[in-house]
Subunit: 246 residues, 2 copies
């Protein structure tokens, strides 16, 4: 039986404040647990799972991992999903890797992205195209939010995500050309992306903030052929990344 204090502890990790204090986050589900235990087991603190899952995955559970066998109704108490999966893992946030411009021809900057699904999808898309560094403005959604984790999957552990003012990054790294994605810029087809590109994607409803538009050297657009008012932020990021890194 899982003690009440531990139930409360895991529940508290749905909030950013407690994730930050503890330096941990939660992943759920067989597929993601499998990826984490295969490639990132050094980050795993604790596993909460059904007997069936534990028997099947015994070989991956090193001594440093605290393993808790739970009944389904107990898992249901700690899950962030509507229906609990067979396994929930608490793991340490990865330590940030020092940013090396030479290894990053493209950096993606997100200006006040609010939707966790969008952030997760952008992280996964960056990972697909070999973009390893994302800058999020401090008022963006937290990358360890359970919904971000769910849509980013293992990519969350491969892409470094740093929360800081995008203006600060631009000041500190003048070798990058800041390019904003907007509705009225240069068509991206004909656009020759600079050798070092900082691709700036704006907020879901307001787009890129005025101050960043002023600083940006280039403004690029995905031309509209139909009638939708805008493209989803993750979709816009993906189309531009496929052009830069395709």
């Amino acid at each position: 039986m899982l003690p009440k204090s531990e139930v409360k502890y895991i529940q508290s990790l749905s909030q950013k404040k407690f994730r930050d204090e503890e330096g941990v986050f939660v992943i759920e589900g067989i597929k993601m647990a499998d990826e984490i235990l295969s490639s990132y087991s050094h980050l795993v603190r604790a596993v909460y799972a059904t007997e069936k899952w534990i028997v099947k995955n015994q070989g991956k559970l090193t001594n440093s991992i605290s393993v808790h066998e739970l009944q389904t109704f107990e898992l249901q108490k700690i899950t962030g999903l509507s229906v609990a999966n067979e396994v929930l893992v608490v793991l340490n946030k990865p330590t940030s890797i020092k940013f090396v411009p030479d290894e990053n021809p493209v950096v993606v900057a997100l200006d006040q992205i609010q939707d966790p699904g969008n952030l997760g999808t952008i992280i996964r898309t960056c990972d697909w195209f070999g973009v390893n560094q994302i800058i999020c403005s401090p008022d963006s959604v937290d990358a360890y939010n359970p919904k971000v984790v769910q849509s980013a999957m293992g990519s969350l552990l491969r892409v470094t995500i740093e929360y800081k003012q995008i203006e600060q990054f631009i000041n500190d790294h003048s070798m990058y050309t800041p390019c904003v994605a907007v509705l009225d810029g240069e068509t991206y087809h004909d656009f020759l992306f600079p050798e070092k590109t900082l691709l700036i994607i704006g907020n879901e409803s307001r787009g890129v903030s005025v101050s960043l538009r002023k600083i940006a050297t280039k403004a690029i657009t995905i031309p509209r052929r139909g009638e939708a008012e805008s493209l989803n932020a993750a979709v816009a990021a993906a189309i531009l990344l496929s052009k830069i890194r395709g």
Copy 2:
């Protein structure tokens, strides 16, 4: 005061069964209500809104629309959102437009798409790129699911979505070349999309079903440069559409 029966009626519309029986669906929020009332007011059956919203939008509310002024706590009872917005609209599903191949160089087919956010995003992306016809396999998520509506926005009323076997569409429309998006096909950069393309996007975890892969004439791939296991289905659709229709 909204009668209990009406509260129940609106709540029931969160389920596909009742939406189908009534031929209606629900949209919520100021932005979407504005778009619906400006361009599709002939579809609107009823509006449930705060006094403030009604005063502001009086000019758009024709006589055929049944308008209900509600207190915020009453709106909270009928909303599908966690916090009710100022306005909720019940409207008729648009009647399908007869499919004319001559007007549709590209048709998108979705094979068992399950995530409502993905379907909504794909509908909006199709609308952006001027693709007006989507075929969903019968076991795909319902296009009038509230979460699909929320991410598709007004595009749901401009793009025709038909639920039928994709194999059936291929049999009936031999002028279209069926192209599946897969992980091991021809690189999409070098791929010359046929004059009439049926772009088939697969299920989020299983990809395109084996039977459709066998029928498809072409298999295309977005090359991976990093380590993510796969691309999100809506992202893959968007990147390929940007290539075909960009």
